[in-house]
Symmetry: C2
Subunit: 122 residues, 2 copies
Amino acid sequence: MTNDLNNVIHRSIEAWNEPDAARRLELVSRTWSDDGTYLDPLMAGTGHDEIAAMIAGAQQQFPEHRFELSFGPDAHNDRVRFAWRLFGQDGSAPVAAGVDFGTLSEDGRLRSVTGFLESPAA
Amino acid sequence: MTNDLNNVIHRSIEAWNEPDAARRLELVSRTWSDDGTYLDPLMAGTGHDEIAAMIAGAQQQFPEHRFELSFGPDAHNDRVRFAWRLFGQDGSAPVAAGVDFGTLSEDGRLRSVTGFLESPAA
């Protein structure tokens, strides 16, 4: 079964925002392939459990914050890029921003994601 | 021997600009690992010969044009991103632009590069 790219990328943003551990793991499982990876300058994870735990750690650092998709997904072949911003409770200026590059598995889930951080004002 | 990242990325831009086939292949060989790959929405190549030939094809499409690095390199772990613009002879507005995402081999050369195209005005 092939996963629609837009759904996969929006689901990944949902996973970063999901406060419930069981629902977060389910979202991660439907977003990343079983051997999926995530790597950015601050965090790394391989497989659903590690990636879900890594996201939980980020949520603890930024409680009540919310990720939003700000660009993409833009894809060709089995490659995708998208960008995100992180907003605090007041919702005004983003407190962090980044661009993610990914490779897709045959079923359309993310095989690997590499994150880079941007200046949030950019 | 480890290749300095800045040198590798600037050398990759030089390769895209080099009109001489032998010098272009030498620049490609010093920029990509032996099994290195390049993939964007329009082109693909694996290994030095294919990548050098692919660049020659791009040069034929854009004669007398010149690539310039416009962002980066920005790197963490074994991942790198950078952006480029392509200028025509009049040198005013860029005719094309893109962002490249790469993984590095242990000796610091590029193992894989994925290119995405931007709006040149962006």
